[in-house]
């Protein structure tokens, strides 16, 4: 992969993140509907919100890093400097 495909990479990450978020909504609703003794719905949605936050943060951070080349010194230089 090269820097040329950075936009495609970010688009892919965003699409996958969106798929996870949408899939999560269906999953939580399915669990609440079909479980014999489901946890409280607020707990399920709170869990979903935490997961969604992590997914959105991860996608945003990776997208920023990929699009904002170069990001900091090369790893080898930075590691040597430490």
């Amino acid at each position: 992969m090269t820097a040329v495909s950075a936009t495609a990479y970010v688009v892919l990450v965003c699409v996958l993140a969106a798929a996870v978020l949408v899939g999560g909504v269906f999953y939580v609703r399915f669990e609440l509907r079909t479980r014999v003794q489901p946890p409280p719905s607020w707990a399920m949605w709170l869990g979903y919100a935490v997961v969604a936050g992590v997914v959105i943060f991860g996608a945003a951070r990776v997208s920023y890093a990929v699009l904002d080349l170069p990001v900091g010194p090369p790893a080898s230089t930075a590691a040597d400097a430490r």
């Binding site: 992590v54 990776v62 990929v66 990001v71 790893a75 080898s76 430490r82």
Partner: protein, 163 residues
């Protein structure tokens, strides 16, 4: 009991044992990863630093927390405690690892993934191999989320419910 119910019961039992195999494999993998990293916090910090994704002030906390979390989640999986919740957390972690590895590849970094210890730059990074491997782990985690229970789970005995 009808033949269809018999077949359904057998399928459920087969999936229970498949779930157990997935639990043990994934649990063992994460216990190994946690144990490899736990005594070498500075190496883990260097590995995380190599990805150039987290701010420097986060490195210490992340490097100190990650191995312990991997260890605890791995043990929980092997024992079969809160299997589905643990699988959700592992799936999230694996997604973050996949994004880290693939973004490092995309940015042209040449770093050791640091998944099982190790860190720093390398002349021969195995990004594709790591992506396939972590995708396999992710598939197992998703399987554990989808399966509602697995065989020989401690939750069954501790809380009287199948996990």
């Amino acid at each position: 009991m009808s033949a269809a119910q018999d077949a359904s019961g057998i399928a459920v039992r087969v999936f229970d044992w498949v779930g157990l195999a997935a639990r043990l494999f994934l649990g063992y993998t994460f216990i190994t990863a946690g144990l490899d990293k736990l005594p070498h916090e500075s190496t883990t910090q260097e590995a995380v630093f190599g990805y150039q994704l987290l701010p420097g002030s986060w490195l210490h906390a992340y490097a100190a927390t990650l191995p312990a979390v991997e260890l605890v989640l791995g043990i929980a999986l092997v024992l079969g405690i809160f299997t589905r919740s643990v699988a959700v957390l592992l799936a999230l972690g694996l997604c973050s690892f996949l994004m880290g590895i693939s973004s490092a590849w995309q940015r042209g970094l040449s770093i050791d993934c640091g998944c099982f210890g190790g860190a720093g730059s390398t002349t021969n990074p195995h990004y594709l191999e790591h992506i396939f491997r972590d995708s396999g782990y992710l598939a197992l985690a998703v399987l554990l989320i989808v399966l509602r229970h697995t065989a020989v789970a401690a939750s069954t005995y501790l809380f009287g419910r199948r996990s």
